[in-house]
C-alpha cells in the first residue's frame, strides 16, 4: 500500500535533488516524444544533448547561450525570492539592447577605451528604466506586474522593429532591417580566436558572485527572503515594501539589459530585428531550475542552454523541428514543479498489515 504523509519540514536534501530528477524525467518524456514522432529515441537524445557540445566550438556555443540565460535568471531570482512576478525580462533585454545599441551608434566609426563601458552602462540603464514601469505601477497604482511586464515585451519588440526598419536602419544596408555595424571599441572582445564566446560571460559571473553576496550576507537579502516567505511578517517587521519592490525590479531589469548588451555587442555587433530567441522567458525556467540559488542557476543555465543547441543540431541532422527545444523547456518546468511535491510530502510504501 502507498501512503502519503505530510513532512513536518520541507526536506533540504530533496530541495536540491528534485532539479536532477526533473531533468531525468524530461529526458525520459523527451525520448518518448521522439519515439512517437518516429525517431530512434536514444539516437535523437544523443543528437539533442551530446553531439552539440562534443567539440570546442560546440562548448563555446553552449557558454554563449548560457551567458544571457544565467545573467537574466540571476536578476529574476531577486524578484522571485521576494514574491515579485517579473515575467517581462524579454522586454527589459530588448529595451536594454535598444538603449545600448543607440549609444553604440552615436560612437559610429569612433574608437576609444571609454566607449565600451558607456555602451554597457547604457544597456543596464535601459533595462532598469523598462523594469521600473511595472515596478512603479505595482507599488503606486496596485497594478498586476505579471500582465504589465508581459505587455511591455510586445511593445519593446515593436519599438525595436520600428527603429531598425526606420530611423536607425543602415543607410547603406539595402533596406535590410538592421543598423550599421558598431565600431570595434563598442564591441565586447571575443575570448578565443575562431570562437564566438565573448567577454559578456564575465558580466554573468560577476552577477553570480554579487547576488550570492547580497542574498546570504546582507540585510537586504534577509528582507527579501522574509518578504518572499510571508508578506505579513515583512510588514510586521517594518520593512519598506515599496522600496524593496522597486529595487528588485531595477536589479532584475539591469541584468536583463546587460544580457541584451551581450547579444548585440558580442558576435553580432549591430541591432537587428531578432536579437533574442526568447532568452527572457527561458530564463524564468532557469531561475526555478537553479532553485533561485546563484550556483544552482549556473548549472541550470548550462542545462537549458543545451536545449537551444540541441534543437538546432537535431533540426539539421534529423529534421526534428527546432521547437522541440521549447517543448523540452516547458517539460523541465512541469517536472520540476511536480517533483516539488516530494519536498512537502513523503510517499511511504507500507506492507499489508494483518
Amino acid at each position: 500500500m502507498i501512503k502519503i504523509v505530510k513532512r513536518d519540514q520541507p526536506s533540504r536534501a530533496i530541495f536540491f535533488f528534485t532539479p536532477v530528477l526533473a531533468i531525468f524525467l524530461t529526458l525520459v518524456a523527451g525520448g518518448l516524444i521522439f519515439f512517437i514522432l518516429g525517431f530512434k529515441p536514444f539516437e535523437a537524445l544523443k543528437f539533442f544533448f551530446i553531439v552539440p557540445i562534443a567539440d570546442k566550438y560546440g562548448f563555446s556555443e553552449l557558454l554563449l547561450k548560457a551567458t544571457p540565460l544565467c545573467l537574466i535568471a540571476i536578476g529574476l531570482s531577486f524578484c522571485f525570492k521576494s514574491n515579485n512576478w517579473n515575467i517581462g525580462a524579454e522586454g527589459q533585454l530588448t529595451f536594454g539592447a535598444i538603449v545600448s545599441g543607440g549609444v553604440a551608434l552615436l560612437f559610429y566609426e569612433q574608437e576609444g577605451f571609454y566607449i565600451l563601458p558607456i555602451v554597457i552602462l547604457a544597456g543596464a540603464i535601459g533595462g532598469m528604466l523598462y523594469a521600473s514601469i511595472p515596478a512603479i505601477l505595482k507599488t503606486y497604482f496596485n497594478t498586476n506586474e505579471i500582465l504589465v511586464s508581459l505587455m511591455l515585451v510586445y511593445v519593446s519588440k515593436l519599438i525595436l522593429d520600428y527603429l531598425v526598419v526606420g530611423p536607425w536602419s543602415n543607410p547603406e544596408g539595402f533596406n535590410f532591417p538592421e543598423t550599421r555595424q558598431f565600431s570595434d571599441s563598442a564591441k565586447l572582445p571575443l575570448l578565443f580566436e575562431g570562437l564566438r564566446i565573448h567577454a559578456g560571460i564575465f558580466l554573468a559571473l560577476a552577477a553570480v558572485v554579487i547576488s550570492w553576496f547580497v542574498f546570504y550576507k546582507t540585510y537586504l537579502g534577509f528582507q527579501m527572503k522574509v518578504s518572499g516567505f510571508s508578506l505579513k511578517t515583512a510588514k510586521y517587521a517594518g520593512y519598506k515594501g515599496k522600496k524593496m519592490i522597486i529595487l528588485v525590479f531595477l536589479i532584475s531589469g539591469a541584468c536583463a539589459g546587460l544580457a541584451g548588451v551581450g547579444e548585440i555587442t558580442g558576435p553580432i555587433g549591430q541591432l537587428h530585428r531578432e536579437i533574442s530567441p526568447d532568452y527572457g522567458f527561458t530564463a524564468i525556467i532557469v531561475a526555478f531550475l537553479g532553485r533561485l540559488h546563484p550556483v544552482g542557476i549556473i548549472f541550470a543555465s548550462l542545462v537549458v542552454a543545451i536545449t537551444y543547441l540541441g534543437a538546432e543540431t537535431a533540426q539539421i541532422f534529423m529534421q526534428i523541428p527546432k521547437y522541440t527545444g521549447q517543448v523540452f523547456q516547458g517539460m523541465i518546468l512541469f517536472f520540476l514543479l511536480a517533483s516539488d511535491y516530494l519536498l512537502f510530502f513523503k510517499i511511504k510504501f507500507i506492507g499489508l498489515k494483518k
Binding site: 497594478t143 505587455m151 515593436l158 519599438i159 522567458f281 525556467i285 517543448v327 523547456q329 514543479l337
Partner: protein
C-alpha cells in the same frame, strides 16, 4: 465625404469578429478564476486549440470534429495544469507559464506540416438577411455559429454564476475554499472542472482564429491574445458582461490599425500594432488604482493553493 451606412456596419461587424476569441478565452478564464485558480496558460491553451482545430479540419475534413477536437485539446492540455496545481499543489503562476511555453512549442511542432495549407470556408448563418436592414444587417447576420455563441457567452456565464446552484458553488469555492469544504463541497473537484472548462473555451478561441478568422495556420498566430484575455478578466472586475465591453474596445483597436493604414494616416505601423498592449496597461492601471474595489471583486482565494489534510 459620403460614408456608406453599410460600411459602418461592416466595420462594427469586423470589430466584433476580432473580439470573438477574446470573449471566449476571457469567459473561460473568468470561471477558472472565480473558483480561485489563476491559470496563466491561456496563450498556450489557445495556440494548442488553434493548431488542433486546423490540423483536424485538414485531416478529417469535418468542421464539427475540428471544432470539438480543438476544445478537447484545450481540455487535455489544461488537465496537466489542473493535475499539477490541484493534485500536486504547485504554484499557479509558474505552472501557467510552463503551460504557455510548452503549448507554443508543441503547437509549432505539430504545425510544421500544416504551414501554407489553405483553410476551408466556414459556413455562415443568415447570409441572405445581410442586406435587408441597413447598418444592422451586416452587424447581426452572416456570421459563423461560433461568433453568435461568443456573444451569448457573457450572458450565459453571468446567469450561471448568479442564478444557478453550481454557479454559487463555484463562487463559494473561490471566495472561501475552507468554508466550502466544511459544507461538504469537494473543492478540488470543482476547481478541476473549472480549469478544464477554461481549457475548452481557450481551445475554442484558438480554433476560431485558425479556422474562421484567418483560416490558415501560422506559427504563434495567437500573438498575445491569450494574455490580453487574461487582462480583460481583471478589466471586467470578474463580471462577464464587462468582458463584452472590454473585448469590443480591444477588437476596435485591432481593426482601427487596418483602416488607419488604409486611409493613409502617417503613423508608424509598429505604433498602431503596439496600441492594444499599451492600452491594456493603461486600462489595468485605471482599474487597479482603486485597491479597495479590486479587493472586493477579486475572488479571495485567487492563485492560492488549497490543501485539505486527509
Amino acid at each position: 465625404m459620403i460614408i456608406d451606412i453599410n460600411f459602418i456596419g461592416l466595420i462594427i461587424a469586423s470589430i466584433m469578429a476580432s473580439a470573438v476569441p477574446l470573449i471566449l478565452a476571457s469567459c473561460g478564464e473568468l470561471i477558472t478564476e472565480r473558483s480561485g485558480v489563476l491559470n496563466l496558460g491561456v496563450e498556450g491553451m489557445m495556440i494548442i486549440g488553434a493548431i488542433s482545430g486546423f490540423a483536424l479540419m485538414t485531416v478529417t475534413g469535418s468542421l464539427i470534429i475540428a471544432i470539438f477536437g480543438a476544445m478537447l485539446a484545450g481540455v487535455l492540455i489544461s488537465t496537466i495544469f489542473a493535475f499539477l496545481t490541484q493534485t500536486l499543489i504547485t504554484n499557479h503562476v509558474a505552472t501557467g507559464l510552463a503551460l504557455t511555453i510548452f503549448g507554443i512549442g508543441i503547437s509549432a511542432m505539430i504545425g510544421k506540416n500544416f504551414v501554407g495549407i489553405p483553410g476551408k470556408e466556414f459556413p455562415v448563418l443568415f447570409q441572405g438577411l445581410k442586406d435587408t436592414i441597413p447598418l444592422l444587417g451586416p452587424i447581426l447576420f452572416g456570421h459563423s455559429i461560433v461568433f453568435y455563441f461568443a456573444f451569448a457567452l457573457p450572458f450565459i456565464t453571468s446567469y450561471f454564476l448568479k442564478k444557478t446552484k453550481i454557479g454559487l458553488i463555484v463562487r463559494a469555492v473561490g471566495d472561501s475554499p475552507e468554508s466550502a469544504s466544511n459544507q461538504g463541497i469537494n473543492v478540488r473537484l470543482v476547481r478541476y472542472a473549472c480549469i478544464l472548462y477554461g481549457g475548452a473555451m481557450s481551445g475554442l478561441a484558438g480554433a476560431y482564429l485558425s479556422m474562421i478568422y484567418t483560416p490558415q495556420w501560422i506559427e504563434n498566430m495567437t500573438g498575445g491574445r491569450g494574455w490580453i484575455a487574461l487582462a480583460l478578466v481583471v478589466f471586467s472586475t470578474w463580471n462577464p458582461i464587462k468582458i463584452l465591453i472590454g473585448a469590443m474596445i480591444f477588437g476596435g483597436l485591432t481593426i482601427i490599425q487596418f483602416h488607419m493604414q488604409a486611409i493613409g494616416v502617417r503613423i508608424p505601423v509598429q505604433f498602431l500594432t503596439a496600441l492594444p498592449y499599451i492600452v491594456t496597461i493603461i486600462v489595468l492601471v485605471v482599474i487597479s488604482r482603486d485597491s479597495r474595489k479590486i479587493r472586493l471583486s477579486t475572488p479571495s482565494s485567487l492563485g492560492k493553493s488549497f490543501h485539505k489534510d486527509n
